[in-house]
Symmetry: C2
Subunit: 661 residues, 2 copies
């Protein structure tokens, strides 16, 4: 009646997996009964020890203190200090040859950091000098606390954009510059607090919820929003909209055609072409990375000279204007915890904190994996968080590891975080002595620098790859992109995260269930749809469920399985009448109380239809709960639990043959 009767011969004293060919004889059948392997529950554990294991796996998956075990107390102390200050890892063995590499890299990224710092501060509607301040203190802090060797720290475009747009909703930077500055510092403080807390509370996995697809779409959208904002500087428009969306900005641009200044536009086109060419050169020949690294500073110098020589500021070219010399002033007295603005600053801090953390950690991980060293995500979060808290007290706004500058740092051959120190010192020199030189720097060149920097965030090959791999991911990517450019930066992000999470929930609400068949001549059971040589076993309905069984899917599973049984029963001829429903639980990692109730209900309802429900290979937690349900109600005796589908089919078809008339 049933095709498969292969049965294992249990061979206890050797390494060879010997297998007896099952014939039609009674002996073989008895042998088949004898070698069944029992489903075991994991060894009993107390709730407390289970909880401990769960907490450890959730919050300390990297087990950061595993090296500490069995060491003497003093060693433990030294290791703890080294853990907190990664600088101690490399400073003792620091050599002159390492310094030479770091010096070159540090100077290179400084030449990028100075113009970008000024530009990004303007993007956040902050005074340009704040961007330079933010390229001085935070890199020094990071050099002490950070564990990445390649991260170049400073202000970044997207966090600047978000901070500016969120704060501008409540306060006008033109009307109340001091208040705006205070709010920026306070938001930075909260951003740092959020980041450090995530690290300390080991909640770093929060940022994992920003999937690659979300980030690709979000970054591309943000790059376009940032570029659109630069149209003000590039076209020389004076009365520009304060909104950020694609539609209002384009409307504003078209509406103010009269304000367009041809001198500004000419300059914009020239420098943009220059910068993009430099970028193209560096991308084509990676050894020429310094071309694009130095281009922005070169543009600033050339454009400043041009303005100075031709007195272009009198011909419609707007310039930065006077900047004060001097280092960061303390700003802890500027932190504003006024309840009126507390909600705004906390929210701004949360959003910019998480976004900049995502960028920083991702950049750190990317380069760590290139050079094959480890970056501890939670430790990085603490470092970035502390850096921002210190920054908020020293006139800096949100900073993190910037992707473009870190890439330059890496290409320039940096060896340790010393390159950040070199960069900071260069910025310091600039702050102390060179500020008057920026008086005539035209805003248009800053706009061009920003566009050339953010254009790299539009990653078309990644979008194509996502499209090819996974259409749902592509949808997420598209929603993030459209949300950012048409609604707002924060809401676009929220929509994309929402869709990503909804998708994960949907996978659980509608788990994959497959009918399995036997691959001819073997003991292997596989999905009928995927394996053409798999064949149905008459009399059996073999199902796999590929998801945790819980409240979100028990109703679905119940209806779906009943429908299958119904279809089988109505389709079956007398010969292939359905007797057994096998539920393979190998791919069910967890089950909850609703799930257990579902299994019990299914058992009862299959019995009503004269069928037997067999469970195969429940994993640890699931087996434990089935056992507990058994203790209470006795639904799943050991004769309805099998270790493999093969053993279940062999044993049950033997049995039904023996009891058949």
């Amino acid at each position: 009646m049933v095709g498969m009767r292969g049965a294992y011969g249990y061979n206890d004293n050797g390494n060879e997996g010997g297998v007896v060919v099952g014939g039609g004889e009674a002996e073989a059948e008895i042998a088949a009964m004898a070698v069944l392997h029992k489903v075991a529950a994991p060894p009993a554990q107390s709730t407390a020890s289970k909880l401990k294991a769960r907490v450890k796996e959730t919050f300390f998956p990297d087990d950061p203190f595993r090296g500490f075990k069995g060491k003497p107390l003093t060693t433990k102390w030294v290791m703890a200090v080294q853990y907190l200050f990664p600088i101690l890892d490399w400073v003792p063995s620091y050599s002159f040859s390492l310094f030479k590499s770091d010096l070159v890299a540090g100077l290179t990224i400084a030449s990028l950091a100075i113009p970008q710092g000024i530009s990004y501060a303007k993007l956040a509607s902050l005074p340009p000098i704040i961007g330079l301040y933010s390229s001085f203190v935070p890199p020094m802090v990071y050099a002490v606390l950070g564990s990445s060797r390649d991260l170049a720290v400073g202000p970044v475009s997207i966090a600047s954009l978000i901070m500016g747009s969120m704060l501008r909703q409540a306060v006008s930077p033109a009307a109340e510059p001091l208040l705006f500055l205070q709010l920026a510092f306070t938001s930075t403080f909260f951003a740092g607090l959020v980041q450090a807390s995530l690290g300390i509370l080991r909640l770093g996995f929060i940022i994992d919820f920003l999937s690659k697809a979300t980030l690709v779409g979000f970054m591309a959208g943000a790059a376009i929003i940032v570029s659109l904002q630069q149209l003000k500087a590039l076209l020389g428009i004076v009365h520009f909209t304060t909104e950020m969306g694609l539609v209002p900005v384009m409307a504003s641009v078209i509406h103010h055609t009269k304000e367009w200044s041809w001198q500004t536009i000419l300059m914009a086109v020239c420098f943009l072409v220059l910068l993009l060419t430099a970028r193209h050169v560096s991308m084509k020949w990676p050894k020429l990375f310094w071309v694009s690294a130095c281009a922005p500073l070169a543009c600033v110098i050339v454009s400043t000279l041009l303005v100075f020589l031709f007195k272009a500021q009198k011909h419609g070219i707007s310039i930065i204007g006077q900047l004060k010399c001097g280092l960061n002033r303390p700003s802890w007295d500027k932190l504003l915890f006024d309840p009126q603005y507390l909600g705004l600053t906390v929210k701004t801090g949360l959003v910019t904190g998480i976004i900049s953390l995502t960028e920083g950690v991702a950049v750190g991980r990317t380069f760590a994996s290139l050079k094959d060293y480890q970056v501890d995500g939670n430790k990085e979060m603490m470092a970035i968080g502390l850096m921002n808290i210190v920054g908020s007290c020293t006139s800096c706004y949100v900073t993190t590891g910037a992707f473009s500058r870190s890439a330059v740092n890496h290409n320039a051959g940096c060896k340790t975080a010393m390159s950040n120190v070199i960069m900071a010192l260069t910025v310091m020199v600039t702050l102390l002595f060179l500020m008057p030189l920026f008086v005539y720097t035209p805003n248009v060149v800053l706009g061009a620098i920003i566009i050339a920097a953010v254009i790299g965030l539009i990653d078309l090959p990644a979008v194509y790859n996502i499209w090819k791999m996974d259409k749902m991911d592509f949808l997420v990517c598209l929603c993030a992109f459209a949300g950012v450019i048409f609604i707002s930066v924060q809401q676009g992000l929220a929509i994309a995260v929402g869709i990503s999470i909804f998708r994960v929930l949907l996978q659980i609400t509608r788990p994959k269930m497959m009918i399995q068949g036997n691959i001819k001549g073997t003991d292997i059971y596989r999905n009928l749809h995927q394996y053409k040589d798999a064949q149905r076993v008459p009399g059996f309905l073999i199902l796999t469920v590929e998801a945790p069984i819980n409240f979100a899917n028990t109703n679905y599973l119940n209806e779906r399985i009943k429908r299958w049984i119904e279809e089988e029963s109505s389709a079956g001829t007398k010969q292939s009448e359905l007797h057994f429903v096998i539920l393979d639980l190998s791919a069910v990692p967890a089950i909850d109380t609703s799930g257990i109730s579902f299994l019990i209900d299914l058992k009862k309802s299959t019995e009503k239809h004269g069928l037997e429900l067999i469970l195969v290979n429940p994993t640890g937690e699931v087996m434990e709960k089935i056992q507990r349900a058994n203790d209470a109600h006795g639904h799943f005796k050991s004769d309805s639990l099998y270790l493999t589908t093969g053993e279940a089919v062999a044993s049950l078809s033997t049995f039904s043959k023996m009891t058949a008339p």
Copy 2:
């Protein structure tokens, strides 16, 4: 060197699963290479057809129109009408004997519905007569549209409580009774709209997100909140707080001790004891179900007589007062779509709609499974939704299938939805002729009736069962309970749903990963922790992942696997040196672009450590994406893909033995 070399002999022309015992000879090794089974990708499908299948499985898992296939057009039409009006299923074959059963059941639930209707309307701060109206029209509508045979339709305690508490936040029912009534009808309209839409859009799975644990905790909390509200009536307090939480209500009760009326309290104690005793009797001897079913009406009659005879209303006993005779008046002109209240009514409709839907569908399913018939969740939603839309136009507020009355209906032997019609007609007679009899009904007896009804919602055995089964579920239950009694009904519910969903996400963020070992003498590989007789295979690290691999867990998987490899490599002696990392993907139902990147990265980084990464048994979707990644980059050639762990180990250990010096 390696213990297992069992290999399948491929036997093509028979049903017997024959297996060749693998020896040390070269022939056997070549045989082992020959019988490897290839991992297949599912047959290619276009994106559109995949999308269609996915949509069908998501929204039409029950395939409601499968019976329609291949039928002539007229039959299809008849079936469609029958689908829309389930009454047509049973009316043609309705008999006198069925009617007798339904008559008894209908009269029994009517005796329960009349006092409960009045009580629940008061709970929602609505005029008592609205409760009776709501027990007249909606049951008639349900009888035509509903597919459950046991559901007794009418107002229910929790939806009444929530509607009252949400609307009272904006409008005082005492100061603006007409406006309050308008808002109640409008909320009912939106509740019906939400319910019907969920059904029509086949989004019924939304209510699945209320897990059993959430509902048990929520119901218990709501029962306590409802009971606390009755202290006003039971103690005769006049100035009662309008808040609902445990703390403010108890404070108010203690603060107003002077208002306590001993006559009221005496009456409250007597009737409460009576009702609870009746309940106890019915629970102990299910055949005496009519005792608790008739007790509320008996109490109303007795207490009304007592008040009437002793003129107790003059001794501090508050009474219902004059009620107008007459049937439901149309109320569509009372629906209020004023933007000022639109947000409130939509929100109230959403919350009460979903809560009452959950109760109605769950009750329907429970009794359907007892009598072994099918209830179509989405169709039920449409029926309940339409019932509420019609109700909102005929002076009714939110109604659904009530658990307690449905249980009485079932016990009383109802056969079809006709029992609802009988109940509605009884209520109609009451509305037309018997309203003046309620003038002297004391409010205290209504309070006692509510408490006796909601006490059944506190399901301690279920709580104990949840505690025993699953500690996390217990936590969810506890949070729902505490949230409801200390914060608010809606927020308690939101917290519990949030925790349930967070838990599901956490399972994905921290998926179970296990090291597998070989069960001696077989080809079976199982979790080492669970199976004590499973043994590590030297040279191999065999891992299973039990979750979809996606953005939420790739970082974790990456770190965790690298740590395992590191530990293995440092612990391994020369003899048992690690060569192969096997990743068993049997339990990975889906993968996204982040997941594919992770696999590629893992492949590269294991190669750097001189290891080989082997993938075993990728399921349909996963295999498809691996193949696509292969087409683009060629990372996973067929020699790193195996169908079973057994075949992979056999083949690879043979190979490494052949190439060993």
